[in-house]
């Protein structure tokens, strides 16, 4: 049992040096997110001039978006440094729906025709 005088046990505290490290991480992540977004917008405006395949561009967008999502959740939302139990509780239910929807898209929609067209 906790001593009631002790401040909140699970609230995060850190020192000045740790804070410096955290701030460096925050700004590094900012540059990563900015770079990915700039590439996305540049590609969105210019892909026709560069003679790229639309399907390739589309897949690049989706991969980059999932990459950005990973950086936001892992670092800004701090999930990477939470306990495994908490990570799994959040990620597994979400992954179930995402995988299910992907399964539906790949099998029930006309997505297979689309893939025939692609390859």
């Amino acid at each position: 049992m906790q001593d009631s005088n002790e401040p909140y046990k699970y609230a995060q505290h850190h020192s000045e040096e740790e804070g410096k490290k955290t701030r460096r991480m925050i700004w590094n992540m900012f540059w990563v997110l900015l770079a990915i977004t700039s590439i996305e917008v540049g590609l969105g405006i210019k892909w026709k001039d560069w003679d790229l395949s639309w399907h390739l561009v589309k897949m690049t967008f989706i991969v980059m978006t999932i990459g950005k999502a990973y950086f936001i959740v892992a670092y800004y939302m701090h999930l990477k440094h939470e306990r495994t139990a908490l990570q799994n509780t959040i990620i597994i239910p979400y992954a179930m729906l995402a995988l299910y929807l992907m399964y539906i898209v790949f099998t029930e929609a006309t997505f297979t025709d689309y893939l025939d067209h692609f390859f």
């Binding site: 699970y10 609230a11 505290h13 917008v41 978006t65 936001i72 939302m77 239910p93 929807l101 929609a109």
Partner: protein, 290 residues
């Protein structure tokens, strides 16, 4: 009994007992809420994807819809929404800096960073309102929605009802139909309607300006429905995020968390705010880019 643990209502709800998650009650519940909210947004965007795929030929492309930039004339596809995205990412950065300052118990910096987060959120909500206004208002030229009839597209008979044709220029003598002449090739020219064929087609159609839930000058009305619903739902999240941030901001100024000994409340609204940014990352990709 050597291990007696008393759980009164205060410790039970504050999460002060040892927990397998190593997180306070409020933070844990925020995570659960965000996960379920993510499921909703995933459902919406997946539904959008299905309909978009179903009506590929007549679905509008965002770069032809969102071409305005405040105070600048001319064709600026995607630029304003890129700026909005940048502002939201930036406000996510200021939010996480506020959380970091809170972990050092640095009240002054928490105030500064939360202030900028709120400003960023307000600019974003304002930008969304501006974009809605332009989408609802539409273009000067407008478009033409065809009535009941059929049309031969490379040997396939297509129904014309509800199909949106756009004018080639101000003279309104050439109507561009959304079917591409070569199926699947997005860069090929639009099918054109002129002369008598145009007069016939216009007989039972109607001119359209802008978009609402039943008509959309840019293409399929479902695009407008999904746009209003998904960006509206996201905008509601941003707005409530700004309100929550503001409440916590006032509490920070009043020294509530200084007295409590921790700034976990800032961390909780921070989680919510990052989630709003996270959703926008997906909305941006699936609505504006893909």
């Amino acid at each position: 009994m050597s291990h007696t643990e008393v759980v009164d209502s205060k410790t039970a709800w504050a999460g002060d007992n040892n927990s397998p998650f190593g997180a306070g009650y409020g933070k844990l519940m925020m995570w659960f809420f965000l996960m379920s909210d993510a499921l909703s947004f995933t459902g919406f965007l997946a539904a959008y994807g299905f309909y978009r795929h179903e009506y590929t030929a007549i679905w509008p492309t965002a770069e032809n819809v969102f071409t305005h930039f405040p105070f600048v004339h001319g064709h600026q596809p995607l630029l304003y929404v890129a700026l909005m995205t940048f502002i939201l990412i930036m406000s996510s950065v200021t939010m996480v800096l506020a959380v970091e300052a809170g972990q050092r118990m640095d009240k002054k910096q928490v105030i500064v960073w939360m202030f900028w987060t709120i400003i960023g959120g307000l600019i974003f909500v304002g930008s969304q309102a501006w974009e809605w206004y332009h989408f609802i208002h539409g273009t000067e030229l407008g478009a033409f929605e065809l009535g009941i009839g059929t049309f031969d597209v490379n040997g396939t008979i297509e129904q014309t009802q509800g199909i949106i044709g756009r004018w080639a220029d101000e003279s309104k003598e050439v109507l561009l139909l959304p079917w591409r002449e070569v199926a699947g090739d997005l860069t090929s020219p639009y099918m054109q309607l002129t002369g008598q064929a145009l007069t016939d087609a216009m007989a039972n159609g109607q001119a359209i300006h802008g978009a609402n839930l039943t008509h959309n000058e840019y293409g399929h009305p479902l695009f407008a429905d999904f746009f209003f619903f998904i960006t509206g739902f996201h905008g509601t999240h941003v707005f409530s995020g700004v309100v929550l941030n503001f409440i916590i901001f006032v509490n920070v100024i009043m020294g509530t968390y200084e007295k409590r000994g921790h700034y976990e409340m800032v961390e909780k609204v921070g989680l919510y705010w990052h989630f709003v940014d996270l959703v926008w990352v997906f909305v941006f990709t699936f609505f504006y880019l893909v």
